[in-house]
Amino acid sequence: MSALVIAEHDNTSIKSATLNAVTAAQACGGDVHVLVAGQGAAGAADAAARISGVVKVVHADGQSLKDGLAENVAAQVLAIAGGYSHILFPATAMGKSVAPRVAAKLDVCQISDITKVGGPDIFERPIYAGNAIATVQSGDAVKVITVRTTGFDAAVATGGSAVVETVAAVVDGGKSRFVGRELSKSDRPELTAAKIIVSGGRALGSAEKFQEIITPLADKLGAAIGASRAAVDAGYASNDLQVGQTGKIVAPRLYIAAGISGAIQHMAGMKDSKVIVAINKDPEAPIFSIADYGLEADLFQVVPELINAL
């Protein structure tokens, strides 16, 4: 029995979501191997080899893997899948896109977004926006899994000394082509890995106000910025900042929700945070029902006050 973790990386380094997936893989039992599929990804492969608990890194490098096209990455996973009892992906945009292709080709079910491993074939996963937790058992020979990163501690990124085996990259499938990418540039911590998150909602009223109110507080706290769906839909914040059932799932040490009423879909994405602070004018806002500290006030007045007090 051994598990293969598909690394989330940027060719030079390993993204933290990979470390949570490694921990989940260890819980499944057996050796843990990591696949680094990319182009010019030796740096990422070396970083993967240093992850504590990883026995082997499989490094596939080539033009077909440069932009992470789901068709090619899935083909790469399938090319080396033989012999693994578990194939795990972090539940990132990449993992969610590739894992079901791998599962379908292997004719096995996929277990999405696991939060706990109960045995080699038993897993817990949230359903209905986290309003219920299902314990499921897979009868298939290979378990293809996506891992909810907030469900597992990160494996230690250093101290390991896994062997790195190089394999040939798959041939480009030719049916899809990468055109371009517009990534939000930010010096802030990554939303899903941040210790503190400051999130803004519709109450901010405009993109300018969102910037003017939320950004200085996040700067002061060294925090990542999040947003509710309403704020993203209204164009106050970019799509990659959305926290919720279908956005990012986060669990920082401190989550500050400013002007967010607390739709169940939003709370599904942040209710596992250690400490939640809610700032809202409306005393009936559902967010207060899960907040450790609620401040019933006008955010335009108290957020600047909070910045001064810190």
């Binding site: 309003n131 899809s176 279908t246």
Partner: protein, 249 residues
């Protein structure tokens, strides 16, 4: 160009579900059911492509119980031309649905299949990608913009760091994200018109697909509940609590 749009009947997004006391599942009896919101966005996108003259026919498909006919009628009220129900009372998991859809893709030969990225009941986020793999088609998940140009489709996707654009050769599979479009309100005349549109009902066996579930649900439980904490009177009290009680800043 034909577009196939699979739609799922799911618990309405405003319903807060309750876990059954015997732990066998969630209680969906007497709960409002609607079309999965992401699928509604998929239908809207397909219908807009037809209105622009890009598509010639929009076929809505649903897999499940007889009541899924209502979901198909809603799709047709938005503007789909006809509906297909693969009727079964068996529990359907994403792999089984993907196989049923693959059989229909073989039969109907659509150039595009547009699906919701995930259903808000099982939150699986699998069916579109599985269908793409089984039919050996290119895919673009989490679409926020779709542009058909000749035998290609350019899709802008919402990814972790921002946006990414892919060009796919048709036929292709697209899954929708929230900001692709805002579905129209269905009007009464269109609801009446939808009642007259053709709706075929077929059996999974007729498509030669074994739909037996692979994943067994052992138990469904309430998540750990988080209780409300305290209200603080002002910023000074909040900062004091965060520093000395929670010790997070």
């Amino acid at each position: 160009m034909i577009i196939l749009v699979p739609v799922k009947r799911a618990v309405d997004y405003n319903v807060k579900v309750r876990v059954k006391s015997d732990g066998t599942g969630v209680d969906v009896a007497n709960v409002k059911m609607s079309m999965n919101p992401f699928d509604e966005i998929a239908v809207e996108e397909a219908v807009r492509l037809k209105e622009k003259g890009v598509a010639t026919e929009v076929i809505a498909v649903s897999c499940g119980v007889a009541q899924c006919q209502e979901t198909l009628r809603t799709a047709m009220a938005i503007g789909a031309d006809r509906g297909i129900l693969v009727e079964t009372s068996a529990e359907l998991q994403p792999l089984a649905v993907a196989k049923l859809l693959k059989a229909l893709v073989d039969k109907e030969q659509p150039s595009l299949i547009i699906l919701g990225k995930q259903a808000i009941d099982d939150d699986a986020n699998q069916t579109g990608q599985m269908l793409a793999a089984l039919a050996d088609l290119p895919q673009a998940t989490f679409a926020s913009k779709v542009d058909v140009a000749g035998d290609k489709v350019n899709v802008t996707r919402e990814v972790d760091g921002g946006l990414e654009t892919l060009a796919l050769s048709l036929p292709a599979v697209i899954t929708t994200d929230l900001r692709l479009n805002e579905p129209r309100y269905v009007t009464l005349p269109n609801i009446m018109k939808a009642k007259k549109k053709p709706l075929d009902i077929i059996n999974p066996d007729a498509l030669g697909v074994d739909v037996a579930p692979r994943l067994k649900t052992l138990k469904v439980a309430e998540p750990p509940q988080r209780s409300a904490g305290v209200k603080v009177p002002d910023v000074a009290a909040l900062v004091e609590k965060l520093k000395n009680e929670a010790k997070v800043i």
